[in-house]
Every structure is written in structure tokens, then in C-alpha cells.
Amino acid sequence: MNKVYPDAKSALEGLTFDGMTVMSGGFGLCGIAENLIVAMRDSGVKDITVISNNCGVDDFGMGLLLQTKQIKKMVSSYVGENAEFARQFLSGELELEFNPQGTLAERIRAGGAGIPAFFTKTGYGTVVADGKETRQFDGEWYVMETALKADLSIVKAWKGDASGNLVFRKTARNFNPMMATAGRVCIAEVEELVEVGELDADNVHTPGIYVDRLIVGASFEKRIENLTTRSA
């Protein structure tokens, strides 16, 4: 089985359409599918609903698709690093649905795992629970949250093989494994393509069944959002 495509543009072929829903892996700028995001922008696809924990920064990551106004709606937990985001939202150009981060992660996990909804105590008694079913279990109140799925998920891994097995690196794992499971189609962008059989089977993070297409990223900037060091 060979799921490898030559580049980000060809990997996106036949998958993009206006009004589509896209899941985009990463936490801040860490573990984002840099090359696929640029290819999404260049595809010109419009009115996208983006499910992503954050929305990049003004000139990098998902912020690129904000600049070109290709995003109709964001489903996120935190967007504090993006001034253009705040501007578009406050002027009514952009729809926004905030989810608590753990609820967002679990909704995506549920979407990929065939679980249509679940109950969580997160957000009970807050605006997050408005309009949602609540129920008491063992004396505690919980809020019903529904699963999330997408037409396409774009994820970033450290290493992958042609059968789609993926290994993530350090905190660049974040939302990528769940998103790989919850896209109708998943494209993975890897830093290094290794031979099938080379990855330690006991340490594969995302089994290939979830990954439909795979590319080696042409280049990785891996921008650091908040460089913090200690003195020697």
C-alpha cells in the first residue's frame, strides 16, 4: 500500500470544495501541517469551517487563511495570539465557536471513534452549557457534547511510512492523533518518510488505517511562538 503523494498540492487534489469542514492539527504553531496549510490557501477554497485548537498567528499557520478570508467559521479553544482574528470576529466577518480545550479534544476523539455524543462536567453552569442537554450522574451535573467530524483532516507527524503509520515528536503530538481519526479523508505531512517496517510497531502513535494520503513536507519553518530561555 502506497499512500505517498509527491507534494501538498497533489495530495489535496479532488478533496477541497467551498463550504468544507477541515480539521487542522497543532497547538499554537507547534505540530501544524505547515505545507498543507499553504496548499489549502493556494487552492483558493472558500467558506471553510476550520476545527483547530488555535488559529495560528497573523502571518503563519492557519492565520494565512484568515488573511485571505477563506475561513467562514472557526471552532477553537483559544485564539489569543491573532490580532486579525479578533478584528474579523468583532466586525462580524467571522463566525466563532469556542469549546473548552478538553471538550474540543474529546469531541474530535468521539467523532473518530463512532461515539455521537458524551457527557462532561466541563462547562456546567457556564455559557458553554447554554442550550445543551444536562444530566445528573451520581449526584454530579454533566453537559452533553456532540462529536465532531470533518471532510478533511490535515495533520503533522515527525515520521511516517508509505502505509500511513505515524510517529509524533514531543508536544507536537497534541491534537494530531485524534484529528487523523475524525476526517473523512486524512492527509498527513511528515518530516521524514521511512521504509515500511522501520518504525517500531510497538511505538506507532497513529496506525495507518486512519491516514489516506501522506506527503513529506517540502520545508519546515517550525516557528517558535514564545521563545523563553533561562540564563546560563
Binding site: 489569543g80 480545550q101 478538553g102 462536567k121 453552569g125 457556564t126 515528536r169 507536537a172 503530538r173 517558535i224
Partner: protein
């Protein structure tokens, strides 16, 4: 004198216990890591997917794949583990994290917390705060007693949208320490040279005074 940011962090660190798994929020809570008592075994959790958070890297040793929940570069230590954000919040929501220390905009005397949104002004999002206050065994808030306009942040009722209801166990401000009990707030400690009368005057919410009232102990500046 009201406590400084460093002193607030030092006081908050007195809530740590040997063997605790702890999640520290952004801002003053992050500074708490500098005051973990020597010899105490505390494991820091970062909700993006890391257990066993090390110090900030030396310049030149930063790794873009290794950040904390504040998106700051960090390091790993012996025993560190990485996992997905779903696993991370299973850990948090499932009650496996012993303590979280968070900042706040407002706290009510019933322990309601508001720290994520100012309607019409701030569009940032709650991040992991709602999950942390819902799932962690003990929630400690560390903050300035008053906001920039000089108004009490300790209130009878929160005015801002809530992060969680009846979720705060302990409130540490630059003036006082309050335990939130089922019957309301109890003043446990006051800052050095800050009187109970001053705390009462600067607090919008009501509180009882502990029969065992103490002065906050800090040694740093």
C-alpha cells in the same frame, strides 16, 4: 504591604505537597515552579500533552516541538512523558491531577470563577481552564485583590461569564488568603502589615474570619 508577584507565587507554592501532579496556569501561576521546596517531588502537567515539565531551555537549546501550554519553550526531565491532548484532558477531567493553580479576573464567595472572557472586549477563549477547574481535585486561584480600576476581584457574585461554578477551593491575593468552605469564604491569612479592616474594606464579598488567623509567610521580595 501587599504581596509582590514573586511573593504570591511563593505563597501559592505552599499549597504543593510531596507526590502531587500539578497543572500551573499562565502568568503568576507559572512562577510557582520556581518555589517548589527542595526535596519535594512535584510533577508538572502541561495540558497540551506533557507530564514532567522541565525548566526553560538555555538559549540555543530550544526545541520548537517542545512547548508548554503558554506556548513557551520548555525542556524535558528524566521521567517525562508525552501524550495527545485527548489523553491530557482525560487525565485532567478524570480527576488524576491533584492541584491546579490559576489566575482569575473574578472569584465569588461561593467559589465561582471567571477568568476567560470580557464580553465585547476580549476574544481569546477559555483554552483548558474550564476542564481544569471541573476536573482537578483542588483549585487554587492566585491573583491581585483588585483590578486595574481598583475594584475588588473577590465578589459576592461574579459579573463576568463563568469559567466554573463552585470550583475554587482557595483564593490567594496580594492582601489575603481565603478558604472557600460550603458556608462561604473564610479569611485564613493576611499579608504582613495588612489589617483585617483593610481587607474588609477592599473586598466586595463577605467572609468569616478564621479563629486561627495567620500572617502570610513569605521570604522573597
Amino acid at each position: 504591604m501587599p504581596l509582590t508577584r514573586e511573593q504570591l507565587a511563593q505563597r501559592a507554592a505552599q499549597e504543593l505537597r510531596d507526590g502531587f501532579y500539578v497543572n500551573l496556569g499562565i502568568g503568576i501561576p507559572t512562577l510557582v515552579a520556581n518555589y517548589i521546596p527542595a526535596g519535594m517531588d512535584v510533577v508538572l502537567q502541561s495540558e497540551n500533552g506533557m507530564l514532567g515539565l522541565g525548566p526553560f531551555p538555555f538559549a540555543g537549546e530550544e526545541d520548537p516541538d517542545l512547548i508548554n501550554a503558554g506556548k513557551q519553550t520548555v525542556t524535558e526531565i528524566p521521567g517525562t512523558s508525552y501524550f495527545s491532548s485527548a489523553d491530557s484532558f482525560a487525565m485532567i477531567r478524570g480527576g488524576h491531577v491533584d492541584l491546579t493553580i490559576l489566575g482569575a479576573m473574578e472569584v465569588s464567595e461561593a467559589g465561582d470563577l471567571a477568568n476567560w472572557m470580557i464580553p465585547g472586549k476580549m476574544v481569546k477563549g477559555m483554552g483548558g481552564a474550564m476542564d481544569l477547574v471541573a476536573g482537578t481535585k483542588r483549585v487554587v486561584v492566585v491573583m491581585e485583590h483588585a483590578n486595574k480600576a481598583g475594584e475588588s476581584k473577590v465578589l459576592s457574585e461574579c459579573k463576568l461569564p463563568l469559567t466554573g461554578k463552585k470550583c475554587v477551593n482557595l483564593i490567594i491575593t496580594d492582601l489575603a488568603v481565603f478558604e472557600v468552605t460550603p458556608s462561604g469564604m473564610m479569611l485564613m491569612e493576611h499579608a504582613p502589615d495588612v489589617t483585617v479592616e483593610e481587607i474588609q474594606a477592599k473586598t466586595e464579598g463577605t467572609f468569616a474570619i478564621s479563629p486561627d488567623l495567620k500572617t502570610i509567610k513569605v521570604t522573597c521580595d
